[in-house]
C-alpha cells in the first residue's frame, strides 16, 4: 500500500515536471507583440510606444524583420537610444531614397585598398596598425560599412542606406587581405568586396581559391577585375583592333564564368584595372550582364552617378588618419529648393 502510494507520488512529480517543461517551451515561443500600443499609418509607418525591454535593434527585428536596420528607426526619429514609454515612429519603407535633403544630397565613399603589410608601408601597401586604426575610426565615429548590394540598391534609387555609409573594397586578390584584413574586418563586423583578377589567384603573393572560398562563405563579396589586369583602354603594340576586341571579350567574360564555377556566386561588378575605362568596355560589360563597374576617381558617390563609372578613393600606405578622414565625404552641400 505504502509502495503504491510512493509510486503514485513519483509519477505525479514526473508528470508535473513534464507539464512545466511543456509550458515553459510554449511560453518562450510566443513572440512579444506591441499590438496594444501601436498604430499603423497607411501601411507606411507604425507608431509604437517602446516597452521596457525594447531596443532599436529589437524593434527593427520585430517590425522590419532585420535587427541591423535599427539605423532606419534611429535616423527617422533623430534618436540614438530608446527610453521605456518613448513614443516613436517606425518607417516601413525607404523614406529618404537618394539621401536628398534641403541642403544637399548624400554621397557614399567607396574605399579602395590593395595590399596590407605587417609593419612596412609602401605606396599600395597599408600597415596592419594603420588599417586597424582606420576601421576603429569608422566604428567609433558612427560610420556604417555597407555591402555591395546595399550600395547598388542606393545607386538604383531603390534602397535607403544609413546617412554615414561607406563601402570597403580590395583589388587584385593579395594574400595579405586574407592574413591581415580579414580578421580585423571580422572583429568589427564590416563587410567588404574583393575584386580579383583571376590569373593572379593561386600565385606567390596571391590568395588561393580555397582562401577566396573561405572569404566568400564568411560574407565577403568576390567580384571581378578581369583575367589578366591589362589596361582595357589601349591597344597593345602591334595589336589589331579586332584582336583587342577579342581580348576585351575574354577579359570580361572569363573571370565571371570562373567565379561562378569556383564559388557558385554571381559576379555582377567589375573594377577596371588602373581604374580606367572607355565606351567599348562599358558596352561590353552591359552585354555580359555586369550591373556596375568601379574606377579610382577620388570622389564619393551620389545616387545619380553613372553606375559604370563608380568612384573609389584609393587608400595608400602613406596615408595618416587625417588623410583617411578626408576620404570619407558623406554629404554634398547644394541648396535644393
Amino acid at each position: 500500500m505504502q509502495r503504491s502510494a510512493n509510486r503514485r507520488k513519483t509519477i505525479s512529480v514526473i508528470v508535473f515536471l513534464l507539464s512545466l517543461l511543456l509550458l515553459a517551451a510554449c511560453a518562450t515561443s510566443i513572440r512579444s507583440h506591441h499590438k496594444i500600443s501601436e498604430i499603423r499609418i497607411n501601411d507606411d509607418f507604425i507608431i509604437v510606444t517602446a516597452a521596457a525591454k525594447d531596443t532599436l535593434s529589437s524593434l527593427a527585428a520585430e517590425y522590419l524583420n532585420d535587427p541591423s536596420k535599427e539605423w532606419l528607426i534611429s535616423e527617422f526619429n533623430h534618436i540614438k537610444t530608446l527610453a521605456p514609454g518613448q513614443e516613436l515612429i517606425i518607417p516601413l519603407f525607404p523614406f529618404k531614397k537618394g539621401g536628398l535633403k534641403l541642403g544637399g544630397y548624400q554621397t557614399v565613399p567607396v574605399l579602395s585598398y590593395y595590399r596590407l603589410s605587417k609593419n612596412k608601408p609602401s605606396k599600395i601597401a597599408i600597415t596592419q596598425d594603420d588599417f586597424k586604426a582606420q576601421m576603429k575610426y569608422l566604428k567609433e565615429n558612427g560610420y556604417h560599412v555597407i555591402t555591395l548590394d546595399q550600395l547598388l540598391g542606393f545607386l538604383d534609387y531603390q534602397e535607403q542606406i544609413p546617412e554615414k555609409s561607406v563601402a570597403i573594397t580590395f583589388d587584385d586578390g593579395w594574400i595579405s587581405v586574407y592574413d591581415i584584413a580579414f580578421p580585423i574586418l571580422k572583429k568589427y563586423g564590416f563587410p567588404a568586396t574583393i575584386f580579383i583578377y583571376t590569373d593572379f589567384i593561386g600565385g606567390g603573393k596571391a590568395m588561393s581559391w580555397k582562401q577566396i572560398k573561405e572569404l566568400s562563405e564568411a560574407g565577403f563579396d568576390i567580384q571581378c577585375q578581369t583575367k589578366t589586369h591589362r589596361d582595357l583602354t589601349v591597344l597593345k603594340e602591334k595589336e589589331s583592333f579586332k584582336e583587342y576586341f577579342k581580348s576585351l571579350e575574354m577579359e570580361i567574360s572569363y573571370p565571371k564564368k570562373l567565379i561562378k564555377k569556383k564559388l557558385n556566386k554571381e559576379c555582377k561588378c567589375l573594377a577596371y584595372p588602373y581604374g580606367i575605362t572607355n565606351n567599348l568596355v562599358i558596352a561590353m560589360l552591359k552585354k555580359h550582364g555586369y550591373r556596375a563597374a568601379f574606377t579610382v576617381d577620388n570622389r564619393s558617390n551620389p545616387f545619380f552617378i553613372d553606375k559604370y563609372k563608380i568612384n573609389r578613393s584609393a587608400i595608400y600606405g602613406e596615408y595618416d588618419i587625417e588623410k583617411f578622414k578626408n576620404k570619407l565625404s558623406v554629404f554634398q552641400n547644394m541648396e535644393l529648393k
Binding site: 544630397y105 579586332k242 535644393l336
Partner: protein
Amino acid sequence: MKRFFNIYLLLIVLFFFTGCAGVREFLGDIADKIAEKNSEKAPEGTKFLPASYYLEKALAYEKNDELQTALFYMQIAGTLNPDSIKIPEKIASLKSTIDHKARKHFTTGVECYEKRKFKDARRQFLTTLRYAPGHQEALDYLKNRLHPKEYLNYTVKEKDTLKDISKKFYKDPSKDFLIAYFNNLKTGEEPISGTTLEIPVLESEFNRPSIDIPIELIKAENLLKEKQYEQALAVAGKILDYDKSNKAAQDLINTAFCQQGKDLIIRKNYTEALHVLSRADPQYDCVKKTTSDVYTAMEKQAEVHYLKGVNHFLNEELQSAIKEWEKTLALNPEHKKAKKNINNARSLLKKLEKVK
C-alpha cells in the same frame, strides 16, 4: 486526490494533442481581442501623443520646406484624429503644393537641359525629387539622360549593309563585326530595314582607318615635290578624313598652300596667291610669312608701275602713265604719289582735249 490527478492528466494529454500552437492561438486570440478593444479607443491620444502634437510638428516641417515629412506627420495627425475636418483639408493643400513645386522645378530642369546647362538641370531634377521622391521623369534625367551614352541608335535604311553603317560611323567598313556583335547579328547577317541598331561610340583613337596613313603621306609628299598641289591636297585631305588630328597631313596641306602661294608670287598673280593662302591655317608660320611676302611683292610691283608711269609722264605719254598708275593703285590703293599724279594727269588730259 485520485479525481484531481485524473483531471490533471487529462489536461496534460490535451496539451500534448493541441501542442504549443493551440495554446498560443488560444492566448493570441485573447491578446488580439484586448488589442482590438484598445485600438478602438486609441485615437485622440489615450495611449499616444495627441494629434495636435503631430500637427504642430507637421506645420514646423512645412515652414522649413520639408514638405514630404510635413505630409507624413499630418497623416499621423489625421489618423489619430479621424473626426477632424481641418486636417484632411491641410493634407490636400500640402499635396497640391508638393505637386506644384515638383512640376515647377522639373520644367525648369528640362529647360536647362535643353540649353545644355547640365549642372543647373541636375540641381533642378534633384530638387524635383526632394519634393516628389517618386517623380520618374526627373529620375530618368538624373540616371540616364544626363550621362553620356556609350552607343548611338541608328535606324537601318533600305539597302544598308553592316559595312555601309560601319563606314558611316567609324569611317572603316571592317568594323562591321562590332555592330553585328552588339546587335546579336550572326556573321554575314545583314540588318533588316527599319530596325534600330545600337552603335557603340568609339573613342577617336580606335577609329583607325583602313587606309595606310604613312603610305598615303609619302604619296602626298611626292605630289607636293612635283608641284601637283591639288592632288597633294586631295591625298592629305583623305588622311584627315580618317584622322582629323593627323599633324603630318595638316602640315603638308599648309606647306602645299604656301608653296602654291610662292609660285603665284613669282608669276605676279598676287590676287590668286592671296586666295590660295586664305584656304590655309593662318596660324602656320609659313602661311604668315608667305602672306607677308605677297603684300611686300605687291608694294614693290606697285612701285615699279609707279616709276614706269613717271617715265611715261615725262615723255608726255599721259595715257600710258595713267595706265601704269592705275596698276600701281590696284596693287597699293594707298599709294599717295600715284593718287596725286593720276589726278593731275587726268585733268591735264582733259585740258589738252579741250584745247584740241
